[in-house]
Amino acid sequence: MQVKNLGYQGIYLPDAKLLLDGSGMDIPTFITHAHADHVPRNRRQPVYASPATAALMRARGHSGPIEEILFSETVSFPGSGHAGSGHTGSGHTRVTLFPAGHILGSAMVFVETPGASLLYTGDCRTPPSPASEGFQLPDRSVDYLIIEATFALPIYKWESHEVTFQQVRTFVSESIREDATPVLLCYNLGKAQEVMHALASCDPPVTVQIHGAGEKLCRVYEQFGVDLGRWEPYDRDTLSGKVLITPSSSLDTDMIGSIRKKRIAYVSGWAALEARASQLLADELIPLSDHLDFFELLDVCRSLAPRHIWLTHSPDPSVALHYLQQEGFSCSSLDMERSDDT
């Protein structure tokens, strides 16, 4: 099956006549999740997405039509197997979304053509984020796998959600006990809500204030049944005694500068690297990731045993490729090749 990496314009599957996480082509376009590096740059682009992803995209300003596809529900399109559209039968491309465990709404796109099947994971995490719809692999065979490899080095190995969630709760309760405002630096879609979900089970309960654009996204999470505990939009005058959740980009702003006594935690997979602590002046690093670690990535590859594996979104795919090759997999980096024919 042919795969072409078009950079920010997405991943193009010429045989299936599909575009994944991109825009600009007049063919069915699937969006795995609502993070900015995956949604179309053209906000009017018609796309297919899971219901929660559709809601989050709208909350972030996507104005084009979004066809909502439920998980495990299959939609069919005329592929390019034969010239001309509208052709039915053996030329069909069938697409099914499976939950990816990354953030709410995140989906893996499973594509079946008459010749072969392909799974594109988008961003994913297994075991899944408790603030997502879970993680599920297709029950049919996967011939080709495009898998995200953001943290594909053996220095990355995540603790269980239970352990990291407890680290978040302990950080918050200890800070409050010391009369300091806990400031959690979290990306405002996904990580922020995952952390709020972790804090929802604090005893005694805590109230979270969320900065800026996070508010609308939290409402979507709640519509889809995720418990975010007690929270309210950021208000400088009433912050005392509460928890502030804000992206690390706001670190230099007045909002954080004006807090008299605070303790800052950086919550991210990148918090696994100690150099980040001094870069961000964080008191605590909490390596809570919504991406696969190195070992989880190898496990997913082993369980699917596809004919070929492409790694994508990796700062350095060489180590994972080395391990996969040693295990006998055919594999390559989608980012390095830009486009690839198999």
Partner: protein
């Protein structure tokens, strides 16, 4: 994580990790003083303090485990059963730190975990291990000792033992200036006294023991036990708020040293308190002779009462034909353990005094600078030992005037010293300030980017700079390396450079990227030195960024011919006036 038994190396490492994660200095001090109190034996206390402040071996011992970074990394890759080039190096690039990488791999890789069983080694066991490493010969033996130790350690212990091998900072934000108050706090001692005992003995572990035993009062100065050096801070503005309270001295371009002199022996100590007498027998010999046979008639000292024991602070310089020679000349003598006749004749080294710390049992260092100076001048006049000239500062403009004068004399810049300051270890309240002029600047191009360590881990923060040789017949290349810079830019500039670097990257060697010429850097440096081992034949001393010249193209950069010209000018201009009327030092001959 399992709690390690008390008194073990693993427990110390857990405290270190806690200190690393704590931002407040007072909290770090509390953590460590609490830990010191929990230690039962004197040996454990001394080792714990030494491991943090000095490293695997006491700083005063001058000893090293002599295990290179590469040996450690190769052993780790081997221990974890991973390919060094294909797995270990990319991981180290990502973290920017070998010790952090090894800790994580030891923890994460099932193969490595299976080979380790924590034996809860005591501090003494680990110290013995360091001894075995030092005495092992050859890479293979050292690797064997390392692996034996690691088998008995947790990943955290492995990480810190590797850092201790470096005899440098553990990078946990807990240096000597925090350790000293921690000792005082733990043993309810006077912080000033703790500082003083450390300064006089140079032995921080010993200071901790004396503090615990309540015997700080018994510690004192001894001849031939070097005193920790007082250091200068750079003057960041063009002047000081109260110029009259300072004096100025010209800053010699030499090597800082402390001299302990008796009529029988003179010894010289470097800033890291190591004995360097053997390297500079000429300078030491002159000092001893000066005390042994003072030129009595002219001196202020009575010939009946010559000094018997003296400690001086000063500078070693090559002095020939009545001039202080540029640093490049001294370099030919530095590190030569036993200089030969020719070296001594070609590059004679002189000790120039600028402070007096002890004189016949009197702790002169407790006096304010002005009073030390009176004694120093009288002593130097009596013995003929040269000492620096001092200048009063009356107006803020004097600083600029004296600075320009110092440069005209071929010196490096100016030292400003507070008249009322006592001699104290380290950079104390900006009592000493140094004013330096950059040696010059060059427009260079970035040839290689290196992933940084520590705070700048994970980004490319160190840069090999190239000088243009495209029209130079001696070279086939376009650019050749001239120096390595790793500072002087802002975080934002670093970010922008890192973006550009990705576009320019040609090839990767572990943590290093080779780049197409594209980023022009105006680099500032203290000096140019001849270095025949490099392709260019010259290296820049202390190169740092002055500006990233996004406005310049690689073809606009300076050439090797420019470097050679600047070097010649600097060496030629550094001639100084004759000794009889030397404006920078009092010299009696």
């Amino acid at each position: 994580m399992t709690t390690p038994p008390p008194g073990t190396f693993a427990e110390l490492c857990q405290i270190l990790a806690q200190i690393m994660r704590t931002r407040s200095t007072s909290r770090k001090i509390s953590l460590f003083s609490g830990y010191m109190l929990s230690l039962q034996s004197d040996r454990d206390l001394a080792l714990a303090v030494q491991f943090i402040a000095d490293g695997a071996f006491p700083a005063l011992s001058g000893r090293r485990a002599a295990v290179g970074h590469r040996t450690v990394a190769l052993t780790a890759a081997d221990f974890c059963d991973i390919d060094y080039d294909k797995v270990f190096r990319p991981c180290r690039t990502a973290t920017g730190s070998a010790s952090e990488t090894i800790e994580k791999l030891m923890h994460n890789l099932p193969g490595a975990a299976a080979r380790r069983t924590p034996a809860w080694l005591g501090l003494g066991d680990v110290s013995d291990g360091f001894e075995r490493l030092a005495s092992a010969s050859g890479r293979e033996q050292k690797q064997q000792v390392l692996a034996d130790l690691w088998q008995q350690m947790t990943p955290l212990e492995i990480r810190f033992m590797i850092l201790m091998l470096g005899q440098g900072s553990l990078r946990i934000g807990f240096e000597v200036r925090s350790m000293l108050p921690a000792i005082a706090k733990a043993f309810e001692a006077d912080p000033g006294q703790v500082r003083r005992v450390h300064m006089l003995t140079g032995d921080i572990a010993g200071t901790a023991l004396l503090a615990r035993q309540g015997k700080l009062g018994t510690a004192g100065f001894r001849m031939f036990q070097p005193v920790a050096f007082m250091l200068a801070s750079p003057l960041e503005t063009s002047t000081v708020p109260d110029p009259q309270s300072y004096i100025a001295e010209e800053k010699f371009d030499g090597m800082r040293a402390q001299a302990h002199i008796t009529p029988e022996t003179a010894r010289l100590y470097s800033r890291d308190l190591n004995d360097i007498t053997g390297t500079f027998p000429d300078a030491a010999g002159q000092l001893r002779e000066a005390i042994d046979e003072p030129p009595s008639p002219a001196g202020h000292l009575s010939p009946l009462n010559p000094p018997r024991e003296v400690v001086l602070d000063g500078e070693l310089c090559v002095f020939r034909d009545g001039h202080i020679q540029p640093f490049q000349h001294l370099q030919k003598r530095m590190g030569v353990k036993k200089p030969g006749k020719h070296q001594l004749a070609d590059h004679p080294v002189l000790f120039i005094a600028y402070d007096l710390l002890f004189l016949d049992g009197e702790a002169v260092l407790d006096l304010p600078l002005d009073q030390r100076r009176i004694r120093l001048e009288s002593f130097c006049a009596g013995t003929g030992i040269p000492c620096s000239r001092q200048h009063n500062i009356d107006t803020p403009e004097d600083i600029g005037r004296l600075f320009r004068m110092a440069l005209e004399h071929g010196n490096e810049g100016l030292m400003l010293k507070r008249r009322d300051s006592l001699y104290e270890y380290g950079q104390r309240n900006k009592s000493w300030l140094k004013v330096k002029q950059p040696g010059g600047s060059l427009d260079t191009v970035i040839m290689y980017a290196h992933a940084g360590s520590g705070r700048r881990g994970g980004t490319y923060s160190d840069f090999t700079l190239g000088i243009r040789v495209d029209e130079d017949e001696r070279y086939e290349e376009q650019f050749i390396p001239i120096g390595k810079a790793y500072g002087g830019y802002t975080d934002q500039e670093l970010k922008k450079m890192n973006q550009r670097i990705r576009e320019l990257a040609v090839e990767r060697f572990g943590p290093t990227l080779s780049l197409r010429p594209g980023i022009v850097v105006e680099v500032e440096f203290d000096d140019i030195q001849v270095n025949r081992r490099t392709k260019a034949g010259y290296t820049l001393r202390l190169p740092r960024f002055r500006a990233i010249r996004w406005d310049l193209a690689p073809s606009d950069t300076d050439t090797l011919a420019d470097v050679e010209r600047i070097y010649r000018e600097r060496v030629e201009n550094s001639g100084q006036v004759a000794s009889h009327d030397n404006p920078v030092l009092h010299l009696k001959k």
